[in-house]
Every structure is written in C-alpha cells, then in structure tokens.
C-alpha cells in the first residue's frame, strides 16, 4: 500500500511519522521544498492507494476536487474539518458527482481504547447516565500569534469540537445526526460550557483556547506541574500541555473518566499514556494507566479501511459535522456578545 500525504504541516508530519513507523510506504506533497512532490499534478503520476489531505482547511476542497477529477475512484482520508462552511455546497456537489470515491473524515479517537472502555461502562451500567462532560483546553495564544491552527470561518470551534462531539456521541450512544436539532432546541452556552439536555441526562462540552480550564477537573490524578495547572485551572502561555478530560457521572453517583496525557513531561512516553479512573459511591478511586497512540491506531485503521473496503465509503456525517460546527460557532459568538454587553 502506498499512501500520499498532501500538506506537510504539523499534522501532515504526524501522519508521515506514524504511517512510516507502521511500515507503510508514504510519499508527501507540499509546495515547500522538503516534500517528495511539490504539487498534486506531480504526485498524481504516481500509483497511490490512499490519499491523506492534511493541508490547511481552506485547501481541502480544491485538493479533493483535483484528485477526484483525475481519479474518480480515489480513496481519501481528509483531516477535520473536511471543508470551510462556505464550501459546503461544493462538498455536497463533489460527493454526488463522484459516487465511487471513498472519502472519510479523520477521527483521531475512533479507535481509542480509553473511549471504548468508557462507552462499555456506560452500556453496562444499570444505574444509567446522569451527565457526560468533555473538556479539551489548551493555551493556543502562541499558536494564534504564529498564525498556526487559525480558522477564519469557524474560529476556535474548528479546533477540538469535532473530537468532542464524536466522543460524546460514541459514549452517550446518540446519533450525531440529531445534533443540529438538539443544538437548535436544547443547548445553552454559559460559563464557557455548552450544555445540551437530553431527556434524562445532560452533556457538557467545553474547550478553552486561552489556557483556562472550565470543564471537569481532577488535579489529584495528575503529576508534578500538571497537577498544579489543573488545580488552578490555567495553562500558561506557550505550554504545550493539553487538558483533555472525559468524565461520565452515573445516576448512582459513580463517576468514570479518562484523562489523556495526564503525566505530560513527567513520564517517558507521556504522549501515549492515559488514565482511566472510577470513583465509587464511597469516594474510593480506582485508576488504570492505558498506553496507546490513538492517533496512530485510528489513522491506520481508517486508511486500511479505505484501502481494503468497498468503493464509495463515506463519512456520512461530514456535512452534518460542518453544520454542527457552524451552529456551535454561532452559539459561542452570541455568548461572547452577551458577555460584552453585560
């Protein structure tokens, strides 16, 4: 199998590394000089089994359109979000124009063992769900200053919200396709937390980009300086620490959760060391360390599915996701205006 990675930014390099580590032959495409090919035209002369589009979001659609124009049955993994909101019409037309093309949107947590374990706990719970909380916060001030990860249409919503919605959907067992109407009818954004009320449980999503951590926090489960950052709820400027926490509360008071990379820079393989925890009714805490590079496992699984699976595979939710992100961006922007006015 030969995989071509289009775009050698931070994420593109990540794909290069994990795919090569897995023994997969990879070629790269980027106008900057350090890639195998400077443009798609050159790369299209090669025999490629699966394409990975990891260039800036605004360029996803032109690249995808070029690929499909030359090879209508291309198999393509596109980084999230698949396109900018203003390109949704073109995306819809493109997917209709090339029914034999396989187009999946990257889902870095689709094969996360920790997420699967939480989902199993929810499925096996007799008590039932009370709340799911997902927080993905980072101090992105420096990134923004350097012009990295800047999305001009979706703003901060483009960063982690796709992941949070997908994780919540997986653990909560609800269809993400229902999210547009849920956001329309049952969502509130207050205190920088988006709350969505289901009939008998609630979902809380939050993502700070200025280092503030507003979601569920368990500083006692972190180590070293990370515990302190989480305790005060603030990630300093230029720190690469990311607070990524999922917490599920059951109706009997039991709490189960996952912390991704809680031992940041404190253990040798901190990037791939995660913590699963359960707090029982009496307050006793059980923890299990889980080691996995879920980005690598999920990416390779999606690429293998594209390669070995039938033609015409699709992330059916690609269009829904863009709609959900637009709605979220709108809710966040409206809340900002309210805060400024008050």
């Amino acid at each position: 199998m030969i995989v071509a990675v289009v775009g050698l930014g931070k994420v593109g390099h990540l794909y290069l590394r994990v795919l090569r580590s897995a023994g997969i032959k990879v070629i790269s495409v980027d106008p900057r000089g350090h890639a195998d090919h400077r443009d798609l035209d050159q790369a299209l002369r090669r025999s490629v089994d699966v394409w990975v589009i990891a260039c800036p979001t605004a360029s996803h659609m032109p690249a995808l359109a070029k690929l499909l124009a030359v090879e209508p049955a291309s198999r393509v993994l596109v980084e999230k979000p698949i396109c900018e909101p203003s390109q949704v019409d073109e995306l819809r037309r493109l997917l209709a124009r090339y029914p034999e093309a396989s187009v999946l949107v990257s889902d870095a947590y689709s094969h996360s063992d920790a997420v699967a374990r939480l989902r199993d706990q929810v499925v096996g719970s007799a008590a039932g769900l009370r709340e799911i909380s997902v927080d993905m916060s980072k101090n992105r001030t420096r990134d923004v200053e350097l012009g990295r990860f800047v999305d001009h249409e979706l703003g901060e919503t483009a960063y982690e919200w796709t992941h949070m919605y997908r994780i919540a959907s997986c653990i909560g067992g609800f269809d993400l396709a229902t999210m547009p109407s849920l956001l329309e009818e049952r969502a509130n954004y207050r205190g920088r937390v988006l709350e969505i009320e289901f009939p008998d449980w609630s979902l809380r999503l939050s993502s700070g980009i200025d280092g503030e951590i507003v979601g569920a926090r368990r500083p006692e489960l972190y180590r070293g300086k990370n515990a302190k950052m989480v305790e005060v709820g603030s990630i300093p400027y230029s720190s690469e620490f990311r607070h990524r926490a999922i917490e599920v509360t059951f109706k009997d008071g039991v709490v189960a959760g996952v912390l991704f990379e809680p031992f940041y820079e404190e253990v040798p393989d901190y990037k791939n060391t995660h913590l699963y925890y359960v707090l029982d009714e009496s307050g006793r805490t059980d923890t299990v360390e889980m080691r996995q590079n879920h980005f690598s496992d999920s990416s390779i699984a999606q690429i293998q599915s594209l390669h070995a699976g039938p033609a015409g595979q699709r992330s059916d939710l690609a269009l829904t996701e863009i709609q959900v992100l637009v709605q979220t961006a709108s809710l966040l922007a409206a809340a900002e205006v309210r805060e400024e006015v008050s």
Partner: protein, 192 residues
C-alpha cells in the same frame, strides 16, 4: 449562480483585415493567456481570425458537474455575444468544459491540455464532427491515452509535458515544447 459574483473580461485582438471568423479563447483555471495561448493567438491573427481572449475568475473548487459545465458554456456564449458566423474555440484545461457544447454546435476547436479523464469531455472530443486539434502532455494527470487515441481530428502528445506544458529539463526544453505546439497549430490552421 457561481458566475454571477465573478467578473469576466475580454481582450480582443483584430487581424487587421476582414476576419475569417471569431475565435473565443478560454483559459485554464490558473493559466491565463500564457505562452501556449499567446503563440496560438499570434498564429490565429496571421490566419485572419479575430481573437477574443476570455479572462475569468473561475470558482476556487471545480467539481466538474453540470453546474461547472454550464458555467463554462455560459462563458463561451457570453463571449460569442450572439455572433453567428464561423466560430473557433481554443481552450486550455478548464476551458475544455466547453467541449460538449462545441461538439453539439460543431464549432472548430483547438484543445490544449483538455481534461480527458472527464467522461463528458472525452466523449465530446471523440464525437466532434468539425475540424479539431488536441494537444496534451504524457505527464499531464488529466491525460487519458485511450481517450486521446479516440479523439477525432489531429492529436499531438508531448513527451513528459505536464498540465502547464512544462517539461522537466528546464526553460529551453519547455520553450521547444511550445515551438512544437506552435508548429502543430500552424499546420492545423493551414489544413483546416
């Protein structure tokens, strides 16, 4: 409509005598009247054609569905502006989306790097009843050797030329490619 918010302008060239007809020159998406179209314009003027070069702002994303074909066909019609004499279409790349309408109306045509991987274009170039010249490189990702072999009229395949009609051996080699194309166009104009 895509075209409604985008601006198209024309650069008209007059042969200096009674024209034999009107040539509408449609560019590529990122290829305004570049070298291949420039030399073709020079030849056309020498052979008495009035040349209308179209400078357009195409959509950033080309899906190659009915909407895009219709947009290019509209560009052709707008450029023709009701002209009812002899018509020659010269098109590079994206401009080749005019092929179905050119074939339907039996317009004489010169196609530079047409998108042969697109079935409607390959079919149109196969079925074209009028005089036609097709030029494309072997290193052009839009080249489909079987579709090229099926094209009616004259065909020229340039070894190692990519979609910009550039070859890997540098400027002089690329200039020689353009000499080859200019000669092919001259020969075709003499014979047509």
């Amino acid at each position: 409509m895509i075209g409604a918010r985008r601006e198209t302008r024309y650069v008209d060239h007059d042969p200096g005598r009674e024209p034999v007809g009107l040539c509408v020159m449609l560019p590529g998406r990122v290829y305004p009247p570049g070298p291949a179209l420039f030399f073709t314009t020079v030849s056309l003027l020498a052979h008495g054609w009035r040349v209308r070069q179209v400078w357009w702002e195409p959509p950033e994303v080309i899906v190659y569905d009915e909407q895009d074909y219709a947009w290019v066909a509209d560009q052709l019609d707008l450029a023709l502006d009701g002209f009812d004499g002899r018509v020659l279409v010269v098109a590079k790349s994206l401009g080749s989306l005019a092929a179905p309408v050119a074939t339907q109306r039996a317009y004489e045509s010169i196609w530079l790097t047409p998108l042969l991987t697109q079935a409607p274009i390959a079919t149109a170039l196969r079925d074209q009843p009028a005089q036609q010249l097709t030029v494309i490189g072997t290193a052009d990702p839009f080249n489909d050797p079987a579709a090229l072999a099926a094209c009616s009229g004259a065909t020229v395949e340039i070894p190692d030329a990519d979609h910009l009609l550039e070859v890997p051996d540098g400027a002089v080699a690329t200039a020689k490619v353009h000499v080859t194309i200019a000669e092919a166009v001259e020969d075709w104009l003499v014979g047509s």
